[in-house]
Amino acid sequence: MVARDLTVRYEDFAALVDATLTVRYGEALGVVGPNGSGKSTLLKTIAGLLQPSSGSLSVLGSPPLKLPPGVTAYVPQVEAVDWSFPATVWDVVAMGRFARLHFWQRFGAQDREVVRRALEVVKMSALAGRHIASLSGGQQQRAFVARAIAQEPRLLLLDEPTTGVDAATEEALRRIVRELVAGGLPVVMATHDLDRVNEWFDRLLVLDRRVLALGTPDEVVASGTYAAIREHTHTHGHLRHDHEPHAAHAAHPEILR
């Protein structure tokens, strides 16, 4: 995935300005920044849910909206679904297959196998027959991650999946992400949680509407930007734009192909 000078506006407000970044195969990119720093905007734009107002964006060489169905899987920050919808955990995870099936194709044995394995990965097999309304917050989150896995995407976008889940679920999610990445899947994940970034991510993007830093967690920590973000994130404030983007990292996007 490559973004060059990506700017996204809501009406008059620029939520993301001149972002340039790449995501490579088999890498987990963590996106950190204070509230309102454009983390969700970046993920939604990559998912094709928002249109960039300028700059370019390509996923596997195409703009998001030109991609064939099923390429990008997205797990939003807050699932705004109706929890009383008549669906079991199995039904929800099975939806992950829908983008991959033409209408004349049956939901076959292979699809069921993929769903079964996705449930296994998130340790939800035992709850497959449960109605979604009866799940805990962590279980709901894992069901939606399983749906994304069942899609067999080429790019996975996770928006703060650890918000509001217990420590065990968080650790389970971290292990799932690392397994997927080890299997070659690129993962972009926004997070509020600035502890243990080394264990989660291969590279870190520090965002405050602009790209402030992009590099390995160690490099970013050494650059000092991270400490500033950390301080501001913890006080829930907004960064002033007196930091120059780290040109050394931002100016040389590598092409993912």
């Binding site: 064939p68 990008t72 919808f85 008549p86 079991t88 983008a99």
Partner: protein
Amino acid sequence: MEVLTEPFHYAFMQRAFVAALAVGVLCSTMGTYVILRKLSFIGDGIAHASFAGIVIAYLRGANFYIGAGVVAVLTAVGIGFVHRRGRISLDTTIGVLFTGMFALGVYLMSQQRSYAIDLQSFLFGDILAVQPEDLWLILALSVVVAIAVIVLFRGLLYTTFDPVVAQASGIASPAYEYALLVMLALTIVISLQAVGIVLVAALLVTPAAAAYQLTSRFAPMMALASLFGAACTVGGLYLSYYVRASSGATIVLLATLLFFASMGAKYLLRATARAA
């Protein structure tokens, strides 16, 4: 036995039963989406708007279904468009469009010297007046909508449950929304003659709402809803023959009873589950 089969002796009753069956199954199948997408108001809106089409068709000497169908589809697409483009909520959009179109129908009709159109039959339906050519049209459109439900099944299900994530995975949620609105418009037009403008909304909502009480997965809810819908329309028509009451009203009353019976059954099932 003779008493029970008596209604079927008349050709117009036979046509009415076939039409009732088609309308019952179709409305309640579409009603599943209406309930889960919280579009109850739309059925009412499109039905009222189509009144303008009925009047225009009458004044021009055109077919009732064509007039109602064109206006219903245009209104449905218009609702989707205004909702997506304008910063107006869906129920406000519907409220504005449907009252406007209904008023247009009343305005055009009031300019006529005599009320040649039987307003009563359009408002409350007259399934006994279904002509052979009407029946063919009802059946043909039912097949079209049924095929659309089958072909679009997975996409409609995903975009109904989670339009944002479906869209991100490459399933075009807006296209499905428009398709659903058009299917809904066709369903309503088919049903107008059977239950009328005022009561079609009930047929879209009530059987599906009853099925929603008793099921916890989507496909069974849709199947049960269509069964309930068929039972209400066919049963209501049958009943109306004996009690000599308006067929549309009897059908809807039966559906309402069924809804409360489902609610009761749900609580009973829960209570016995807890006791066990």
